[in-house]
């Protein structure tokens, strides 16, 4: 008698648990659908045999063909990639050193310096765009790719510093002391100990800056001259005259590259972890 009561109560609890699990799964599916449906639609329409994105007519490769043979989008993509490459490089150098300085040394006005990092992040992009443009005008700095790169570095550095500072504060400082204790000077310590330990943070900062740079429309719009327009700025201006599926094809390829990048990253990471665990090197 008592046994059956427990059984009943248990099964009720189990039913509730199962219902909760199903509900959770449904919710997760909805969230993902919300995020990915627009991207899926974009990809599907890149194969649409039609001049606009309004309805489905039939399957075609023609937009991809056009992209690679006689597209006028390519120069903009090249601009975007040049800007992104140098923006990542410069903001990593400045940001990593800045973060090391901010977390390892004491100096006057440190608090002010570190708090002012957030200003470029919270200031509306339009304001930052206008400010940078005005600065360039006053300084007679010509608009063009270098101007765009510097503007991107400006808004990227704070993100790099914030990410890297988090990494640094999580790092046991005594490993740096241990390195010096064992006879390595500061430079050797930085390259042999600090830098290798910061690699994961540097990689995520690089991805962050890459996305910020490739994404940026507003600030770039202000400071790009006639020959340095980037892809997102161009696409936005094309909206006025109607988007061609050619754009869908291009962005689909970009998504593809990104997905492959993420997969490669994961495979490499797990391979490295595995190698570290099964080290078969013979030392003696």
């Amino acid at each position: 008698m008592e046994g059956t009561v427990t059984k009943q109560r248990l099964s009720k609890r189990l039913r509730r648990k199962r219902a909760g699990r199903i509900g959770g799964n449904v919710f997760a599916i909805l969230v993902y659908a919300f995020i990915y449906t627009p991207i899926a639609v974009m990809i599907i329409f890149s194969f649409n045999d039609q001049n606009n994105n309004y309805y489905w007519k039939g399957f075609t490769w023609r937009w991809y063909e056009k992209l690679f043979t006689h597209s006028d989008l390519m120069p903009y993509l090249v601009n975007t990639l040049i800007v992104a490459f140098f923006a990542v490089l410069l903001s990593l150098v400045i940001g990593v050193l800045g973060a090391v300085g901010l977390s390892r040394f004491e100096f006057k006005l440190k608090k002010m310096v570190s708090n002012s990092l957030y200003i470029p992040i919270v200031v509306p992009e339009v304001v930052l765009g206008i400010s940078i443009l005005m600065l360039y005008e006053t300084a007679h700095f010509p608009l063009g790719l270098p101007a765009v790169i510097l503007a991107h570095v400006t808004f990227s550095v704070p993100f790099v510093i914030i990410i890297m500072r988090g990494r640094l504060s999580g790092m046991d400082m005594s490993v740096e002391e241990a390195s010096q204790d064992l006879g390595a000077n500061r430079v050797v310590t930085f390259f042999r100990i600090t830098l290798p330990l910061l690699i994961p943070g540097i990689l995520s900062s690089a991805f962050m800056v890459l996305t910020l740079s490739i994404d940026d429309v507003i600030i770039t719009n202000f400071v790009s001259g006639p020959y340095s327009t980037t892809l997102p700025v161009k696409i936005l201006s094309m909206v006025k005259v109607g988007l061609k599926p050619e754009v869908n094809a291009l962005t689909t390829l970009m998504v593809l590259v990104l997905v492959i990048g993420i997969l490669v990253n994961q495979v490499v990471q797990s391979l490295l972890a595995k190698r570290a665990k099964t080290n078969t090197k013979v030392y003696f």
Binding site: E177, A178, Q180, D181, P196, T280
Partner: protein, 361 residues
């Protein structure tokens, strides 16, 4: 006696307004195992870090082998440190961790290999050279940290609470191993800990510190048997303390009136009227059911406890901490509620001159 290997003279250290090391003098002799012992915040780790070169003394002189080190960076000093957190390089194998000191000094590879092998044998970690630190236990990491420091043949090895993170069993085992290592290699060890038992087990000399000052520097035996200050008496082992003043001096003995009754101690150079603390260890505290000549301290038996290795009796005294008596064998001649009269041999009591500044706690 030869010149001390490490000498601190009149060293002061401020962190902001905080005076952490006060006019400190310390001579560390070559080949000795010296422990800096004290509660947290007493400045023991700061001393270690000043010798290593991670902190600068605000004033004073530090010499290693007679050479001033104030202007030397940590990486230029011939001392090595074993850190509390081990501080192993997580991205390197055990081999590369141990080899690090020689690698950055550009020692030829075959020689490094030979030395690393010696070190691995020394700390009994052969076969672990290919592992990464995150795949080792705390005790193993500790051995790697020690090997990594010792491979540089330091003149002095500094150890900052190296066993703090280990469990009791392992800690005891490592204590013996560390002592064995130190004797075998004949390297000067400067060891920081807050664990008085650990200090007792390993040290040739112990410096008991409080508030940036060394209160007592002596052998473990001396520190236990003849504590110099009231703080040392309370911090090292268990003790019964009675505060009072010297009433009179009769030959080699002094009669002391304490706040709980009359007792005796060796006269030494005490004079009538001197304030004094009497320190009697629980295992040598004697008792009887009858008053003893020259003593008028008594207490009521409050508790009799078996604590594993010994029996402890607590005597209650109004307005005074309980008096502790420890014995290996149980004594059934008294029971709870009985009044016992306390006394002690002159050899078993230490008279601690009461000073204004060390009367705290």
């Amino acid at each position: 006696m030869t010149e001390p290997i490490v000498r601190l003279q009149n060293v002061n250290k401020f962190f902001g307004d905080n005076h952490v090391i006060k006019n400190l003098d310390l001579d560390i002799e070559e080949g000795e195992f010296l422990t800096l012992l004290g509660p947290s915040g007493c400045g023991k780790t700061t001393i270690l870090r000043m010798i290593a070169g991670f902190e600068d003394a605000t004033s004073g002189v530090i010499t290693v082998e007679g050479e001033h080190v104030e202007d030397k960076e940590a990486f230029e000093r011939d001392v090595n440190t074993v850190f509390q957190s081990y501080a192993l390089f997580p991205h390197m194998t055990v081999y590369d961790n141990i080899a690090y000191g020689l690698t950055v000094k550009k020692v030829p590879k075959p020689e490094i290999k030979e030395r690393v092998r010696e070190m691995l044998e020394l700390v009994q970690l052969m076969g672990f050279e290919g592992r990464r630190p995150d795949m080792m236990s705390g005790g193993q990491k500790q051995r790697v940290a020690i090997a990594r420091a010792l491979i540089n043949n330091p003149k002095v090895l500094l150890l900052d609470e190296p066993l703090g993170a280990l469990d009791l069993q392992l800690r005891k085992q490592m204590q013996i191993e560390l002592k064995r290592l130190q004797q075998k290699l004949n390297i000067t060890f400067v060891y920081v800990t807050h664990d008085q038992e650990e200090a007792m087990t390993m040290s040739d000399r112990i410096a008991v510190m409080r508030g940036g000052v060394i209160e007592h520097l002596a052998t473990p035996k001396e520190i236990y048997g003849r504590p110099k200050t009231r703080f040392v008496a309370g911090f090292i082992g268990e003790s019964n303390l009675f505060s009072g003043t010297v009433a009179s001096v009769e030959g080699d003995r002094a009669i002391v009136d304490t706040d709980v009754g009359r007792g005796m101690m060796p006269a030494e150079d005490f004079k009538p009227g001197d304030p004094v603390h009497l320190c009697v260890r629980p295992e040598v505290m004697q008792y009887s059911t009858q008053p003893v000549d020259g003593f008028t301290i008594s207490g009521q038996v409050k508790n009799m406890i078996f604590v594993g290795s010994q029996y402890r009796t607590l005597l209650e005294q109004p307005g005074h901490p309980d008096v502790k008596i420890n014995r290996v064998k149980v004594d059934n001649s008294y029971r709870e509620g009985d009044v016992l009269y306390l006394h002690w041999a002159l050899d078993d009591v230490t008279g601690i001159r009461a000073k204004e500044d060390s009367d705290g706690e």
